[in-house]
């Protein structure tokens, strides 16, 4: 199976509470919290589409969209 290729991260800013779980536990340090304490994607080129941010987000605020 080919490696999944990142299309984009879908972020729901209204639902994100800035707990930082996705930021701290991302194996590739793709994410950071912005000045409003909401998740933002700063290094999308490093994303390996493991979806751990999506699975661990307690607020359903981040989704990893991959190319079909």
């Amino acid at each position: 199976m080919a490696k999944p290729k990142l299309k984009r991260h879908l972020i729901n800013r209204d639902w994100c509470k800035g707990c930082g779980i996705c930021v701290e536990l991302c194996p590739k340090h793709v994410l950071e919290l912005d000045e409003q304490d909401k998740v933002s994607v700063v290094r999308p080129q490093d994303c390996i589409c493991c979806r751990l941010c999506e699975l661990r987000c307690p607020d359903f605020a981040i989704e990893v969209e991959t190319e079909e």
Binding site: K17, C19, I21, E24, L55, R56, C57, P58
Partner: protein
């Protein structure tokens, strides 16, 4: 269907604190249900009282938000009346094992086909951080300013001894595993218990200086090990995760329908 198709999106963002693990358990549960291909109308989710019990408000299934500790009793009633439905009962540690301790052991004893998910954050969050029967020794809580001296239950051993036919434990660090064991628990015919070690950063984490939510999630990684691992022999303090019990035994609703058949046959 996507995860959001199972949610009542109008109630989001949910009421849980930033970093609370309950939302992740909800996600794991929904992904399990999605993989099982269950219809929303065939699922009944019953809860009691507490932070964890607010989970039923957010899912687009048949839901009952009942009284403290008695969710399993209500679920037993629903299951006996409509055995074809899938019953899932999410509970907190206090709801399941303090207030509802008796309902918990007796549901396990009967082996009724219900999936109980105990979200164990070792504290009563909603009422302000009192210690629970799962807090364990040497824990700070608002009701234990000089730390606890009470031993905690081992949910896995308790459920096993009470007669549950499927018992597993996972954590919010192990998101993939969490969803997989919930899937197996729902598929299991009989009473299944999944203990999920989760984090309450607002009360447990702050009072016990474990750190913020990400630190608490990492704590769960560092303090658990797969069941039967060598690490456990070297360090008995580690908490095991995995599937502990998975056996077949007569299921309560099936036995009850046989009893009804027998009684009808006898009266003719």
């Amino acid at each position: 269907m996507a995860v959001k198709d199972y949610l009542r999106e109008r109630f989001f963002p949910h009421l849980w604190c930033p970093g609370c693990g309950h939302g992740e358990v909800l996600g794991g549960m929904i992904r399990a249900i999605e993989r099982l291909g269950l219809k929303k109308n065939d699922i009944v989710m019953v809860s009691g009282i507490g932070c964890s019990s607010r989970i039923v408000g957010y899912v687009d299934f048949h839901t009952l938000h009942t009284i403290h500790g008695r969710a399993l009793a209500f679920a037993t009633g629903v299951k006996l009346a409509r055995p074809e439905l899938t019953l899932i009962v999410p509970m907190g540690d206090g709801d399941a094992l303090a207030i509802g301790g008796n309902h918990f052991i007796h549901a396990a004893r009967r082996n009724i086909d219900i999936t109980a998910i105990v979200m164990n954050n070792r504290i009563y969050g909603m009422t302000g951080g009192q210690f629970s029967p799962l807090s364990g020794i040497n824990v700070s809580a608002t009701t234990a300013p000089f730390k606890t001296i009470d031993k905690s239950f081992d949910i896995v051993e308790l459920a096993r001894a009470a007669g549950a036919t499927f018992v597993a434990r996972s954590t919010t660090y192990h998101a993939q595993h969490l969803s997989e064991v919930i899937e197996k628990a729902i598929r299991h015919k009989g009473f299944s218990v999944v203990e999920v070690l989760t984090q309450c950063p607002t009360y447990f984490g702050r009072k016990n200086r474990i750190g913020d939510a990400p630190e608490m999630v990492k704590w769960l990684k560092d303090h658990t090990t797969p069941v039967g691992s060598k690490a456990k022999q070297e360090n008995p303090e580690l908490i095991e995760r995995g599937i502990f019990v998975d056996i077949e035994a007569p299921e309560y609703c099936e036995e009850y329908s046989k009893l009804v058949e027998r009684a009808r046959g006898g009266s003719r």
